[in-house]
């Protein structure tokens, strides 16, 4: 494993000493919301991710870029617990997420969308968004089936919330339409609504601009910024569309062949010679 030389914080495989460190960092106001620590993923003999580390600060829009096969989606799938890293750790507010089963990721505030949209095709827009609130509710099957008073109260609040999000993303007109019949761009908004319904602290967006035209990409960029500002959501954006990443990201991490190439402000990363080489190739090769 490659040492995480970019960071002062060493990798700690167990929780020892974590809370002390966290409190010290809180005092400095620099505790990251999400910390990726030396994460490696190996598929058979292929190293898809090799000791990648970076931090996400509260309220940031972080762009994750890299050529095809750089490991962006692999990292993403680790964050949403679809893949289990073979090494390293991922900390959400100082707690490792790797010990949690996938269905208990939403409740700590991680939401995501998919590159090719993974909605529930035979449910309506409203039901898709309503499912998104699942992690924010707790009632048992019996009181839920009988619609006992406290379940009703909770549901009324949830419904208000669901309708608010549907309006926020301009989906009122299609609220009762089955998702499978909607255009791709609209489905992407529905997926965003479903992710927001769980009230996430971090929103992971996997190529949200894929399949959108120029005008739609511009609208999407504004929407992502608005979501961050209005809802206090930190955004991790995996994107091929350089224009979008460079215009809205505060911080950019570039990957290539499973390793971190560069990290910094959009301007810094754009002018990094390694990044330029990875995208355009170099004379020496």
């Amino acid at each position: 494993m490659r040492p995480a030389n970019d960071f002062a914080r060493p990798v700690r495989p167990n929780g020892f000493g974590r809370s002390k460190m966290t409190q010290a960092q809180l005092a400095q106001g620099k505790d990251p919301l999400l910390a990726v620590r030396d994460v490696s993923v190996v598929f058979g003999g292929i190293i898809a991710l090799n000791g990648v580390s970076f931090d996400m600060q509260q309220g940031q829009i972080l762009g994750l870029i890299g050529p095809n096969g750089a490991g962006k989606t692999t990292l993403f799938n680790c964050l949403s617990r679809l893949y289990q890293p073979s090494g390293g750790d991922i900390l959400m507010e100082g707690q490792s997420i790797l010990t949690r089963p996938p269905h208990r990721i939403a409740e700590i505030g991680i939401g995501r969308t998919f590159q090719n949209v993974a909605l529930f095709p035979n449910l309506s827009v409203l039901d898709n968004v309503r499912v998104g609130t699942h992690a924010r509710t707790n009632s048992d099957i019996i009181s839920d089936s009988l619609k006992l008073p406290w379940v009703r109260r909770g549901e009324a609040e949830l419904n208000k919330r669901v309708h608010e999000i549907v309006s926020y993303l301009d989906l009122d007109d299609v609220a009762h339409v089955t998702v499978s019949g909607l255009p791709f761009g609209t489905q992407k908004r529905v997926e965003l609504a479903r992710a927001l319904a769980a009230d996430p602290k971090i929103l992971l967006l996997d190529e949200p601009a894929g399949g959108l035209n120029h005008e739609e990409v511009h609208v999407l960029g504004n929407l992502i910024r608005r979501i961050r500002d209005d809802r206090n959501v930190t955004v991790l954006l995996v994107e091929h569309h350089m224009g979008l990443v460079m215009s809205i990201a505060d911080h950019v991490v570039a990957l290539n062949f499973g390793r971190k190439l560069a990290e910094g402000t959009p301007a810094q990363v754009q002018s990094d010679p390694d990044v330029i080489k990875a995208y355009l190739g170099s004379k020496d090769q």
């Binding site: 939401g111 095709p121 449910l123 039901d127 699942h134 839920d144 319904a197």
Partner: protein, 292 residues
């Protein structure tokens, strides 16, 4: 004409039972993509439980409710113990599991209650319904209970949070986990509900076919035919399929010369094959399209 109406109504009554069985089959199929060959035996075992409870002096409806609870718990237990460990196993392993379950339940029922045919009571009586010769009170009761069950299920799936979560888990499990749904328990819940629905079918049909360990064999094949006809991906279709198969069975037995009681079962099998060849997705099912 009276014979025709009579056959239609009788068809609807047995169709109600096929609808229950088809619905139970579809619920498990939606959850784990396999046909539960042991669905009929599970229903038969539940029916024996209710019979035993009545032998011990518990009144019919008390035994009915207790049996529902037992079947629900039993369905969950079977899923947890047998099919959760097989979740990632190949199809044939699962099929072997279902056949084993079939044989085990059948033999255990025979061991406990032996294979002699028993009378099973009906709470509705078997008089003419509302003074009409067309349909008996028990047949009317079968239809009534099934319709109530279907309405309750509709409200459960359409308007409760758990119902929505179950639909989501059956639709795209990965996304369902991501929004915080424990998909593994949703599958177990589906098994419990399917077992409970099956037990209702068993208790309603037992006065007609009499109680014995092999009582559900024919019923399950009609249930499969109904599920295939309506579409294995559509619970609504399974119910409609159940009623259609019930009516079709009765009309064929009455009007097609040479089709007596002996030939009724091959008709169900012929129906399954015809639907699979002509319209594999069934009347209401979605065709399964895979991206390659």
């Amino acid at each position: 004409m009276e014979l025709f109406t009579n056959q239609i109504l009788a068809g609807i009554a047995t169709g109600a039972i096929y609808a229950c069985m088809a619905l139970a089959v579809v619920m498990i199929y939606q959850a784990i993509d396999h046909l539960n060959f042991a669905q009929g035996e599970m229903a038969m075992f539940s029916t024996f439980i209710s019979w035993q409870l009545m032998q011990w002096g518990i009144p019919y409806w008390g035994a009915f409710i207790l049996t529902l609870a037992f079947s629900f718990a039993g369905g969950i237990a079977i899923e947890r113990l047998l099919f959760k460990p097989l979740a990632k196993a190949p199809i044939l392993t699962n099929v072997a599991g279902f056949i084993a379950l079939f044989a085990i339940i059948n033999s255990v029922a025979g061991l406990i209650w032996d294979f002699t045919i028993k009378q099973y009571p009906t709470p509705f009586g078997s008089h003419p319904f509302l003074g009409s010769q067309l349909i008996s009170t028990h047949q009317a009761g079968m239809i009534g209970v099934t319709v109530l069950l279907l309405i309750a299920l509709y409200f459960f799936f359409q308007f409760t949070r758990i119902g929505l979560a179950m639909r989501a888990a059956a639709s795209v499990p990965e996304s369902a986990r991501l929004v915080g749904i424990n998909t593994s328990w949703m599958i177990a819940l589906g098994w419990g509900m399917a077992a409970a629905i099956g037990s209702i079918a068993g208790m309603l049909i037992a006065p007609v076919v009499f109680l014995e360990p092999n009582m559900m064999g024919g019923v399950l094949i009609y249930g499969f035919a109904a599920a295939v006809l309506g579409g294995l991906t559509s619970p609504f279709g399974a119910v409609i399929g159940g009623f259609l198969v019930g009516i079709f069975e009765n009309l064929a037995g009455t009007y097609i010369p040479g089709v007596g009681n002996e030939l009724k079962l091959p008709i169900a099998l012929a129906l399954i094959i015809t639907v699979l060849v002509v319209k594999p997705a069934g009347l209401f099912g979605r065709p399964i399209v895979k991206r390659v």
